[in-house]
Symmetry: C2
Subunit: 433 residues, 2 copies
């Protein structure tokens, strides 16, 4: 089909929902994608590009002439257009912008002036604002008459002459009210508004918290400049959770469709850090060369203490990182959580100290060795619980994303403490120094 039959391709792809067109694009290989977009020409729905992985989007956008991008972008909602343009090189972006009609250009420029990942970048600039003295009938007539309404909307904004928001009216309330009802009397006046400079994650949390569907966005002077709708926030929530995931595992900003080279590049830094900490850990073991030489069983057993600590630390860390991400921790809860994690570490320490102590004593016929590994296990489990909570907290206090670096620090701590405690106690106990 990719042999140039433009009309056939358009007949097949044209009527698809843009999410589905996006899927089609992801299925194709590099050349097929470009061929598809070129063949369809102006009949290609650019909003499909907002649905594909970033690497594919950039790949397509870079190959297309800026004039074609401008034509495609002109037909999009403001927020979709922004998300396509923000990834472009500044030079290309300006060329596309200058090819657009004045009104679109200005409104896109204004959105792009807000910081990256802010509510201003995600908002739509089409919304309905009416004065408070209108009646329901007046409002309905206005909407019946006016051709240039947003594609979809869920509430109407009541504003004063300076575009400051006085209230909001959900559409269902308009439909339930008699024509003569003054808008002022049915509007919601407990307002949830979002600052255009606010981070999109913060905005998403407001949506989640107050079950919002649409919310007004205001600039620094309190003037209404756009609206955020819940479908965009759903993507933000999904991305945010995903980001924490990836950061914890050190896989950077990867997509499944990334190339091998990109993937290697994104993963090497994390592995380099891990190599450093692994070498450090191995140097700690190196301190006990003489001890191990006299008692090889120690080398056999030592990874158990380290591994159990690593797992216990990861459990506490995961709980803490997620609680931080969801802003669930304030003073009282935090103290309670720290106390709980230390106690849990202690209790788990006792449980697994007994288990591994007995197993070791039986296997080596040496009760003292069992006691040594048990003692090391208790120490490492308590340290794991403490590190698992304090490390992400400290990173958060230092304004670093706790998801990104916690995992390395926590396992380094549990490895070092695990090996050091076990080999150290053994050395002292058996007089092997």
């Amino acid at each position: 089909l990719e042999a140039g039959r433009a009309d056939d391709v358009t007949t097949v792809v044209g009527p698809l929902h843009h999410s589905d067109t996006g899927d089609v694009l992801e299925q194709l290989d590099h050349n097929e994608r470009l061929a598809l977009v070129r063949l369809m020409g102006d009949r290609f729905d650019f909003s499909a590009l907002t649905e594909v992985d970033e690497s594919i989007r950039l790949e397509i956008m870079e190959e297309l002439p800026n004039a074609a991008i401008a034509r495609g972008v002109a037909g999009l909602d403001n927020d979709d257009a922004v998300s396509l343009l923000e990834d472009l090189e500044p030079h290309d972006r300006n060329e596309v912008l200058s090819a657009l009609p004045t009104f679109e250009r200005l409104s896109l420029k204004r959105s792009l002036d807000f910081p990256e990942d802010s509510a201003g970048r995600r908002m739509q600039t089409d919304f309905i604002a009416i004065p408070p003295f209108w009646t329901v009938g007046h409002t309905i007539d206005y909407m019946r008459r006016e051709r240039d309404l947003p594609d979809e909307f869920y509430q109407i904004y009541v504003v004063d002459a300076a575009y400051k928001v006085l209230g909001t009216v959900p559409l269902d309330r308009i439909l339930r009210s008699l024509r003569g009802t003054p808008i002022e009397s049915i509007m919601n006046t407990t307002l949830v508004l979002i600052d255009a400079n606010e981070d999109q994650e913060e905005a998403a949390r407001q949506f989640e918290r107050y079950d919002l569907v649409e919310v007004g966005v205001v600039d620094e002077n309190g003037r209404m400049v756009g609206v955020l709708t819940v479908d965009d926030m759903v993507d933000v929530i999904q991305e945010e959770a995903d980001e924490d995931f990836r950061l914890l595992a050190g896989v950077g900003d990867e997509d499944v469709s990334d190339t091998t080279v990109d993937t290697v590049r994104s993963r090497v830094p994390w592995l380099v850090i891990n190599l450093f900490t692994a070498v450090m850990t191995s140097m700690v073991i190196g301190l006990f060369n003489a001890t191990i030489e006299q008692m090889v069983a120690l080398a056999v057993l030592m990874p158990i203490v380290a591994s159990m600590g690593g797992n216990a630390g990861a459990q506490t860390m995961t709980v803490t990182v997620r609680a931080l991400a969801m802003r669930e921790l304030d003073g009282g809860r935090l103290r309670r959580l720290i106390r709980r994690e230390v106690v849990v570490g202690f209790v788990n320490g006792i449980i697994f100290a007994i288990l591994i102590g007995v197993v070791t004593a039986l296997r080596y016929g040496d009760v003292q060795l069992g006691a040594v590994i048990a003692a090391a296990m208790i120490i490492n489990m308590i340290v794991a619980g403490t590190a698992g909570i304090l490390i992400p907290l400290t990173l958060d206090k230092l304004k670093a994303d706790p998801a990104i670096a916690s995992a390395v620090f926590v396992t380094t701590v549990t490895d070092v403490v695990g090996f050091f405690a076990f080999l150290g106690i053994a050395g002292l106990w058996f007089g092997l120094f």
Copy 2:
């Protein structure tokens, strides 16, 4: 304030949004919570209970008399009521249900008959359904007249006599159309409907994919039985991502507010599994007792190979688990991903083999030891990439949640292979068996 001044408490807590009331409850301790709910009596907004952690919800519900729960639940939306009742013991649940008015009882019963975590449990049973031959004017008059409308709604459903959905009309479209317009001519006929028995995660994916705000839910005969709204789906998306997180780290179904005992109980199973695999790994090391005895440097270096493999495996595994959760993997993509991960493992293996090989050779003044650890590193990194993708895939094929058990399996594989390859190659090379 908790000294019994019911009116004061009500004045403070009463006007809060139910999310905020939920926060207040979470701040309080066990006795204060109950005191608050009891003091406020019928003025307590039960929807606040849908906003607190499950453990707190159950704690409060168990202490309240069933009659009080019935009074509280009667004022709730169907979906909120279901989410409170589904956690109750069957006996208590039936008692609460039988204390409710007939209409509420039947509609709650019907929702509760759908499987747990299905769309039917999450849906609201209030919606507006009209026949196709009405006009816009007729519809608006109906909504102005009818008192018993849903609290909030975003679209209207056009149904036939058997309640089969023929189309949907967003409210904004009604507001834009003249009174004489037949509903049939403005309704959407490309329908997205969700089966009440469908899993809520599947439903949430539809919302995400098609940017929905509200969608009709139909029973097995295609009759409309309720609607799902996006605010409920936002919670589902959040929970789903969270669940994967927790499963990967082995922290079960924990809340930050869980007690120490609950936390220990939820984490021990995972640690027990880890203890088994750690002992298994240690037995692999035990095979090389004699080798280590002759060359203690091996014991010092071996954790490096295992740790690097473990990290590389976790990277691949995280990407795979998330891709599976988001249904991003079909045949073509899957083959590409497997190929990529194996190649990435090989490339990273070479990079880190050279790094660690050189460091080792310099530190021990022994080029051969450097070559041995380099060879083991390449092997373990390739194995890590392969295991990181094949293990979650296999679990998924076996209908197990890949998030739950992948982490143990992958690290066990990389530990065992890491130690075995390194100690084995060293033993052969230096003739230490």
